[in-house]
């Protein structure tokens, strides 16, 4: 078996395609690294500035007392840029890099609306007239280029030998057919891996030499997983190449078939499926969000003004009514925002489920999840934001409870603790990435990819066993 693999390998290493594949992958990986080094420090710098801005914001309001802090909220919360963004761009520009924990809507002479959590959306397209392209990241290199290279290495592995008559020669020896197949597979696999590994090494070398970009142990672990996914994906296309090569008489026909299959599954299926998915999900009625929000507020405030005269100015009763009005309003509005967000997320989930029919989408989703970019990462960020919002609110309640002089009525200045708040005690937002969570979200896709590989591998085996020489 090793003998066959070795022969296959030496055949490939001397070929033109090996040289071309190496040049192509090296060039792409190098560009990727250089571009990452150009862009990433800026992103990290921006994030740092924003985080310190957030902390200053909290400190400024904390020094004004508890009411101010509770009314203003923690302000903008920012998403931490992943240091593995060169692995997958993940359409990050289409998702907002912040959540707004301090969205104010109205104020009257005595009352101010309390902060709510709102989710601004990014619309980079609107003021962008650039031509639309896919960023060259690992996802692109693996998804498109590596799969094409894998096909180019295997299309003639069986049909080519049959054409030249060497297959008959090999099989006349006392070797079982599956050994021949595995040997060929290994040979092709190693010859595809060499240029890819070279590219990855050059890429990582360039990135890790820079002092601006720091890769920690966890990042290396994630890179390892991404590499494993790339290997699995390559196997898929190698198996496909062998399958077609075994079934087809001439190698030219084999390549034509493979290329057409590749174009359909890799190039067109993701976008066509996405169009179908996007259309089928967004066809619901586009109800006017701001109108609903305004209506809710209007109903609440008319209720409030109906009870306006029940308590005289300054009495506890009055403070209670005011407080209930403000907190109820904030609750309602936040729920509305949350509902809209959930509806949008559900739509994207449905659309993503459909696009999973294409292996390239699966692999790009997987790389995104492990690189800490893309949609799943965005959901994690939103989860972090919500956790923090709860924490912040608990802190306000606890601080207020600790003050015996306070009336414990939220929403009104006079109803809350008047003690100064120490800025250090206020919880700060820290966006984190969690590898085990990524694993959970990626598990289905990983299984799906493995399933694809297994099916194709057994297909190639069956086809080769039954082939007539």
């Amino acid at each position: 078996m090793w003998h066959i693999a070795k022969r296959e390998l030496s055949d490939n290493l001397n070929s033109l395609r090996f040289a071309l594949a190496t040049v192509l992958l090296l060039g792409l990986m190098l560009t990727n690294a250089v571009v990452h080094l150009r862009e990433h420090p800026e992103r990290v710098q921006q994030y740092r500035e924003r985080v310190s801005g957030h902390q200053n914001h909290i400190a400024a309001h904390a020094s004004n007392g508890l009411y101010d802090l509770a009314q203003e909220g923690p302000g903008y919360l920012y998403k931490k840029p992943s240091n593995l963004r060169f692995c997958a761009e993940g359409s990050e520009t289409f998702m907002s890099d912040r959540a707004q924990a301090g969205y104010h809507r109205w104020s009257t002479d005595t009352l101010k609306s309390f902060w709510i959590l709102a989710y601004p959306s990014a619309t980079p397209n609107r003021d962008n007239v650039r031509p639309e392209v896919t960023k060259v990241d690992w996802g692109f290199i693996i998804g498109y280029v590596l799969s094409l290279v894998a096909l180019l290495f295997t299309f003639d592995s069986i049909s080519g030998e049959r054409e030249r008559g060497t297959l008959r020669l090999t099989l006349s020896n006392a070797i079982p057919r599956h050994t021949v197949l595995i040997g060929k597979f290994l040979g092709a696999f190693i010859s595809v891996s060499i240029p890819f590994i070279l590219g990855v090494l050059v890429n990582l070398l360039v990135i890790s030499t820079s002092s601006d970009v720091h890769l920690d142990a966890e990042a290396w672990g994630r890179l390892g997983i991404i590499f494993f996914i790339a290997v699995l994906y390559t196997c898929l296309f190698l198996a496909l190449g062998m399958l077609v090569s075994a079934r087809v008489q001439r190698s030219a026909v084999s390549l034509v078939v493979l290329l057409l299959v590749w174009v359909v599954f890799v190039v067109f299926m993701p976008s066509t499926l996405a169009s179908i998915a996007g259309r089928s999900t967004s066809s619901g009625p586009t109800y006017d969000f701001s109108e609903r929000s305004w209506k809710l507020h209007e109903e609440l405030s008319s209720d409030y003004y109906a009870n306006y005269d029940e308590g005289p100015e300054g009495s506890t009763k009055r403070i209670e009514i005011d407080g209930a009005y403000v907190t109820k309003d904030a609750e309602q509005q936040e729920q509305l925002h949350e509902e809209r967000l959930n509806r949008r997320i559900a739509e994207v989930h449905r659309a993503r489920a459909i696009t999973r029919l294409s292996p390239v989408t699966i692999v790009q989703n997987l790389i995104e999840s492990f690189a800490g970019t893309g949609f799943e990462r965005h959901l994690q960020f939103l989860e972090n934001v919500k956790t923090y919002a709860r924490e912040f609110r608990t802190f306000i309640v606890d601080t207020d409870n600790a003050d015996p002089e306070s009336l414990h009525i939220f929403g009104v200045r006079t109803g809350m603790s008047q003690e100064p708040v120490s800025p250090e005690a206020v919880p700060k937002f820290e966006d984190t990435l969690n590898l085990s969570k990524d694993f959970n979200t990626a598990a289905t896709e990983l299984l799906l990819l493995t399933l694809f590989v297994l099916v194709l591998l057994s297909g190639a085996y069956l086809a080769f066993v039954r082939v007539e020489v």
């Binding site: 033109l16 395609r17 071309l20 192509l24 060039g27 560009t31 990727n32 150009r38 289409f94 998702m95 959306s121 990014a122 619309t123 397209n125 609107r126 003021d127 962008n128 007239v129 650039r130 031509p131 639309e132 392209v133 896919t134 960023k135 060259v136 692109f140 498109y144 280029v145 094409l148 180019l152 003639d156 190698s251 030219a252 026909v253 390549l255 034509v256 290329l259 057409l260 174009v263 359909v264 067109f268 993701p270 976008s271 066509t272 996405a274 169009s275 998915a277 996007g278 259309r279 999900t281 967004s282 066809s283 509806r343 949008r344 997320i345 739509e347 994207v348 659309a351 696009t355 949609f375």
Partner: protein, 510 residues
């Protein structure tokens, strides 16, 4: 003789597996995508119609002329040819306010319809994209063994024993292959046009068919270019398998790698911060207006001094019956947009304030005139700055893309479809002219200094007399003019490559 050769080649090509596969794949992809794109277009059209209707109703509800801010809106209809090349049609804003306090541009536009911004995550597709990928691949698959294959089989030597010029052989090969490639192109286009005509909402006009013809012509040039690239490789290599391999790598680089690589490598991200001084300049002009404004009020003896410490210009000038005052401002440094406006709304002005009304009218006449002058001044600096921030990098990107035939093809078909930047700018040019027309109308009818500008008691705003907005896509001639440079480039590349192939073939030993 040429006829015989073409006949032979045609027969050879037509009876192959690759021809069947080519027709099948192109048909499958084009039909599937047309159905999807048609539905998408219909949905966008419905969103457009609803938005137009709603805006019209909103405007009708305004009783005073000053209330037209934010309610007089121009909507951009979806382009039916965006099915062929989507271009910028979907990504750029399609809802734009018409207001005298700023000049509307592509960057001020917002979007109607699109409810879920997350759906931008998914890539979009159009028919040109299908052709771009599939037809180029097919052209190469048809070309790779054109010369190398015949040489391998020895038939080339046989053909050349006849007294035929080598150029004829090449020409015959070229013509027959192009005929074969035309079949999937035309059949799939025909089917997609049939699908489009069955739709009740999408109405293709006569000149749209001319534009589609332009797209077909460009596609032909594009396919022919790839065929010639394949033939060139085929003439240079000895073995068909090497030729095929090389073709695939060339395809991968030209179609897949180069366009993405070059735009990743070259930084074409807009940098609004570079023009921040312009934004400050614009702000200063508005502050200047603010000063003149206060000066005017101070000099006017009749107008009550503005209340709240003399700073708040939006106060109601002591008019009895003012329901609310407003202060409207925009400050977006990234698109250099800055303005502020004040105004008031009076449902019914009380009799004791009646003497106050003419000075207020006079004031608004002055204020609006000065506002418009300020806008004109800011536009002089804002326009070139916006071009520098957004248009220049985008054009650089498009220029770099043109080094690949894919870029040329995309640019030319975009121009034919009218979804390129210039086509979209046509719309915003029309909106700018419309804004001018509205302002002129307001000047003409003295609406800025009329009572109806801020009060609804003696006659309300008459929106029916306002000039109506209408937008027509540019003429086919203009589309053709925009597409021509790229098409000429494609043609030149074709001619050069054909000559190169001919030279190689004439010189080569059989």
């Amino acid at each position: 003789m040429l006829k015989t050769l073409i006949g032979r080649e045609l027969l050879d090509n037509l009876m192959t597996f690759r021809f069947a596969a080519a027709v099948f794949i192109t048909l499958l992809l084009v039909v599937a995508n047309t159905i999807v794109l048609l539905k998408d277009y219909e949905q966008r059209l419905t969103a457009y119609n609803t938005a137009v209707q709603e805006s019209r109703e909103d405007l009708r509800e305004e009783k005073t002329y000053a209330g037209y801010s934010g309610t007089l809106v121009a909507h951009r209809p979806p382009n039916p040819l965006s099915i062929f090349n989507l271009g910028l049609d979907k990504q750029v804003g399609n809802k734009i306010e018409v207001y005298h306090a700023f000049v509307p541009t592509i960057w001020d536009a917002e979007k109607h319809g699109m409810d879920n911004p997350f759906l931008n995550l998914f890539t979009s597709i159009d028919i040109v994209l299908v052709f771009q990928g599939v037809l180029s691949l097919l052209a190469l698959i048809f070309a790779y063994d054109g010369l190398a294959g015949e040489r391998e089989r020895g038939t080339l030597r046989l053909v050349l024993t006849h007294p035929i010029q080598r150029g004829y052989i090449l020409l015959a090969k070229y013509i027959s292959a192009m005929l074969c490639l035309l079949v999937p192109l035309l059949i799939s286009l025909l089917l997609s046009i049939i699908l489009l005509t069955t739709s009740t909402t999408l109405a293709l006009r006569a000149d749209d068919f001319l534009r589609i013809g332009g797209i077909v012509l460009t596609s032909l040039l594009y396919v022919s270019l790839f065929y010639l690239i394949g033939l060139c490789i085929s003439a240079l290599t000895r073995r068909t398998s090497t030729a095929l391999m090389l073709c695939m790598f060339v395809w991968g680089v030209l179609v897949l790698v180069y366009p993405n690589l070059i735009l990743t490598a070259v930084d074409i991200v807009p940098k609004p911060n570079a023009q921040i001084s312009v934004h400050n300049q614009i702000k200063q002009m508005w502050e200047q207006l603010d000063k003149e404004n206060k000066q005017f009020i101070r000099n006017d003896g009749v107008l009550s001094p503005p209340s709240r410490g003399g700073e708040d210009l939006a106060a109601g000038f002591g008019l009895e019956g003012v329901e609310y005052t407003f202060w409207q401002d925009e400050d977006k440094p990234s698109i250099l947009l800055y303005f502020h406006q004040t105004g008031l709304y009076a449902g019914k002005i009380k009799a004791e304030s009646e003497p106050q009304v003419p000075p207020v009218q006079n004031y608004y006449g002055f204020y609006n005139r000065e506002t418009i002058n300020t806008v004109e001044r800011t536009w002089l600096v804002r326009k070139p700055a916006l071009e520098a921030i957004y248009v220049q990098p985008a054009n650089l990107g498009r220029m770099l893309l043109r080094f690949s035939p894919v870029g040329l093809y995309d640019a030319a078909t975009e121009a034919w479809a009218g979804t390129d930047l210039e086509g979209i700018q046509d719309f915003f040019g029309t909106v700018q002219r419309y804004r001018r027309a509205v302002v002129d109308y307001f000047y003409d009818k003295k609406i800025f200094e009329s009572r109806q500008w801020f009060a609804a008691d003696k006659g309300t705003a008459d929106w029916d007399a306002l000039p109506q907005f209408s937008f027509h896509r540019s003429d086919t001639g203009i589309n053709a003019k925009r597409a021509l440079p790229d098409m000429l480039l494609l043609l030149t590349m074709n001619v050069i490559l054909f000559t190169v192939v001919l030279l190689i073939f004439v010189k080569s030993e059989v």
